[in-house]
């Protein structure tokens, strides 16, 4: 069945589409409303797939009880949200997300997280200079970080991880977008951006871009968006199944058990493959958002097949890459490009890795309350950063020459293999407890011979 046309849809849409003098925002809204038009047959197909997926999640014990609850709420909310008039959809989703927090989390944690979120909103919405709003935001974060570090605030212990999972990065994106927007912050988009149902279960969450989320809202036909979301959820599910298997195989390789080169190679490769856990979860999260019309981009794309470090950076965590581009790379680049375009690009790339290196302990701090900065983390980001900057420099200074097809293909395969091996090796450093234990892992097989 074709999507509903203007005549078949609600009155507002009909007027909006026909009124040539309407402002762009209204025209865009009317277009989105058309994309969200329901279709019984397609709804049944989506609902049937979700029911099957839900059964599969249960059959494979995909996550814990909280995940099961969250999935039921998401799929149930989808069934209601789908049939609601367009103007009520976002408000309903916000209400379902806020209400869902009380079902999924301890009610004290839910209440405090929502209260903290509203305080952040009020600060960012305040009719004062942006610098003052930012100061208010820093104050809230400062107090809560003190609480997270010392546990001296009268907040439930589960609060900090959930608060961090929701606000630690996205608030940066949101504040950035608000600072560049002529419109003031609005409550419903704010709630739908931060209070996302899967975030209550998955504190490690993709850094969704606020603008991309708003822009993608019903930008395509609703069923296509939802279907893509289901496909990604399925892909995420398969990745999580594989993750468990990899975890199982890797478990046997305690450092003192790595007594052959084969065992060393196996554990290095398996440690890198464990990233499927992150990728699988991100697919499920973004897939769920697709059910509500948010046509978000892929979070990870065939990263094990990257043909170079820049390519890998673009694929392995696309949302993180976009987050860094927006908040670090472009600001740095535009500030320094007068001193030379190439130097500015190299500098911006280096800045991205310095900031990434700093933000990972910040993430660890919020999610598990660990303040330690590990040397292995710093060395990992240093190696990765230097490697990417060197690749940028090489790519810029060495133009590729034309080659026969077989040579191009062979080169491509070699590049993929080399990138994988290189990443797996430095990933094993990142996974190691300390530099010394990584060195022990790498060399023990020689001593054991």
């Amino acid at each position: 069945m074709a999507p509903l046309g203007p005549e078949q849809s609600g009155g507002v849409a009909t007027v909006a589409v026909r009124g040539p003098q309407l402002p762009t925002a209204d025209r865009s809204s009317a277009k989105r409303e058309l994309q969200a038009a329901p279709n019984l047959l397609k709804f049944c197909a989506l609902a049937a797939q979700l029911a099957l997926l839900w059964a599969l999640f249960r059959l494979y014990h995909t996550e814990d009880v909280a995940f099961e609850k969250m999935t039921m709420i998401v799929f149930g909310a989808f069934a209601v949200h789908y049939w609601l008039p367009f103007r009520f959809k976002e408000a309903f989703l916000a209400a379902a997300s806020l209400g869902g927090a009380f079902f999924i989390l301890q009610w004290q944690v839910a209440a405090w997280v929502i209260a903290a979120g509203l305080a952040i909103f009020l600060v960012l919405r305040a009719p004062v200079a942006f610098r003052l709003r930012l100061l208010g935001l820093f104050s809230i974060f400062g107090v809560l970080m003190y609480g997270c570090a010392t546990r001296r605030l009268p907040l439930p212990s589960g609060f900090y991880a959930i608060f961090g999972g929701i606000f630690m990065f996205r608030v940066i994106v949101y504040a950035y977008d608000i600072s560049h927007s002529r419109e003031p912050a609005r409550l419903t988009p704010f709630l739908n951006y931060f209070f996302i149902l899967p975030n209550y279960v998955f504190t490690l969450f993709p850094v969704i871009d606020f603008q991309t989320m708003r822009r993608g809202y019903y930008q395509r036909e609703a069923h296509e968006i939802a279907q893509q979301g289901i496909r990604w959820m399925m892909r995420g599910f398969v990745q999580l199944c594989l993750y468990r298997l990899i975890f199982y195989f890797n478990d046997r390789y305690l450092p003192d058990r790595v007594t052959t080169f084969r065992a060393l190679a196996a554990t290095i490769v398996l440690s890198y493959l464990l990233y499927l856990n992150v990728s699988g979860r991100f697919h499920i999260i973004v897939g769920m958002l697709h059910l509500f019309g948010y046509d978000l981009p892929e979070t990870n794309r065939r990263y094990f097949l990257a043909r170079g470090l820049i390519d890998l950076w673009r694929r392995i965590n696309i949302y993180w890459k976009d987050f860094m581009m927006k908040t670090v790379y472009y600001p740095f680049y535009f500030k320094f490009r007068k001193r030379g375009d190439f130097r500015a690009r190299l500098g911006a790339t280096a800045a991205v890795f310095v900031v990434s290196c700093a933000l990972h302990p910040y993430q660890t701090f919020w999610l598990i309350g660990d303040l330690n900065i590990r040397l292995t983390d710093t060395i990992f980001w240093l190696i990765l950063g230097v490697s990417v900057v060197a690749t940028v420099w090489y790519t810029e200074t060495h133009k590729p020459r034309k080659r026969p097809v077989w040579q191009t293909r062979t080169l491509h395969a070699t590049q993929v293999a080399a990138t994988f091996c290189y990443m797996a090796t430095i990933w094993s450093l990142w996974s190691a407890l300390s530099f010394r234990s990584w060195f022990y892992l790498l060399t023990h097989w020689v001593a054991a011979r």
Partner: protein
């Protein structure tokens, strides 16, 4: 934005087929598990279905640390500056995890310090699997063993058996050994049943050494003091650094503790039986982990009762867990461990003799 995938209906069809295929793997694996060639792939399917593997301490990558589950159980322990750091509180009734202790802090019913006449005492020492976390006291395999021995009376009607359960949740091998050396002898046991489970062998094996180093607690045992010195551990090191420094010394430390245990119990003229008790995990995770110290265990001159195959009949052992995703056995799991233990004790004359002594009886029929 780039449009991904084909048409709506084609994509729906693919998803339905994929879901059905994944679902079909579950019964297919059950069938395959019964055939020897299909056993390993079937176990892989079981691993893919296992929730518990996610929460059980294992691999320690950056993201695994972030997504790990961290719990505290401070309310059930007494903390001190001793080598063991903590022990179960006496007279504890911990409803949530169904743990009750007597006035000595031992799991189970009240006991006397002095051994009653005509009683053979068995000291059961292990961790949460042996303490019966999440299982009613009377269903713990140690209690089932006591009940069975008292029903069978292998040493004649005049002699009773008592199983004193010294196990403590979260104990690793050094704490288990220290309990056997320091606490148990006060009760004059005749036999020591020691569980060397995966906590002694997997990533968590050095947790206790990390804690004593951080808390400036004396390593107490000469060999341990030497190894810690050699490893260069320091109280100022972070937890991760300490784990890293200790990693190469796993086998010497496990060996040192088991040897100390064997020597100490031999000097008391008591018997020692080492048990390998499984957690409820898909695949052969428990076995895989314990196998890493198998050589050390073989080096002991004591009977070893391998119970790691207790759940072998269950491809999906989740039904034997205390709750979905947990590694602790439920009542049925404890019953299976007990049956396996009793059967294997019978099958190993040396172990049976160690258990019941040199009494007049022959071994009764194994349990059905």
């Amino acid at each position: 934005m780039k449009k991904v995938g084909g048409s709506f209906w084609a994509s729906s069809g693919v998803i339905v087929l994929a879901v059905l295929a994944m679902a079909a793997l579950v019964p297919a694996a059950t069938v395959a598990y019964r055939i020897s060639a299909g056993r390993v792939p079937a176990m892989w399917v079981a691993v893919m279905r296992s929730r518990e593997i996610m929460d059980n301490a294992g691999v320690r990558g950056y993201y695994e640390r972030l997504m790990g589950k961290y719990g505290r159980m401070d309310k059930i322990y007494l903390y001190d500056n001793s080598f063991r750091i903590f022990r179960l509180m006496p007279n504890l009734t911990w409803q949530r995890d169904l743990i009750t202790t007597n006035s000595f802090g031992l799991v189970g019913p009240e006991r006397t310090l002095e051994k009653p006449p005509h009683t053979r005492r068995i000291a059961l020492i292990g961790a949460s699997l042996d303490a019966g976390q999440l299982v009613p006291e009377k269903q713990i395999y140690g209690q089932l063993l006591e009940d069975r021995l008292n029903a069978d009376r292998p040493n004649g009607p005049g002699e009773r058996f008592e199983v004193l359960n010294f196990s403590c949740i979260s104990y690793t091998l050094p704490q288990i050994v220290d309990t056997a050396i320091e606490d148990a002898p006060r009760f004059d046991p005749d036999v020591y049943l020691i569980d060397v489970n995966e906590l002694a062998a997997s990533t968590e094996w050095s947790r206790h050494m990390v804690q004593i180093t951080q808390q400036h607690i004396d390593p107490k045992y000469g060999f341990l003091r030497e190894i810690l010195q050699k490893a260069g551990v320091s109280a100022t090191d972070s937890t991760d650094i300490l784990y890293g420094k200790l990693a190469p010394y796993r086998i010497p430390i496990v060996q040192g503790f088991l040897q100390t245990l064997e020597d100490n119990i031999a000097s008391r003229h008591a018997s020692l039986i080492v048990m390998l008790v499984p957690a409820v995990e898909a695949g052969e995770l428990s076995k895989q982990r314990v196998d890493t110290v198998r050589e050390v265990i073989r080096g002991l001159h004591v009977p070893v009762v391998d119970l790691l195959d207790s759940f072998r009949e269950y491809l999906y052992p989740a039904q034997l867990a205390a709750y979905p995703g947990d590694i602790h056995p439920n009542r049925r799991g404890h019953a299976l461990i007990f049956q396996n233990l009793y059967t294997k004790l019978h099958a190993q004359p040396e172990a049976w003799r160690a258990l019941v002594g040199q009494g007049p009886s022959r071994a009764p029929a194994p349990p059905q």
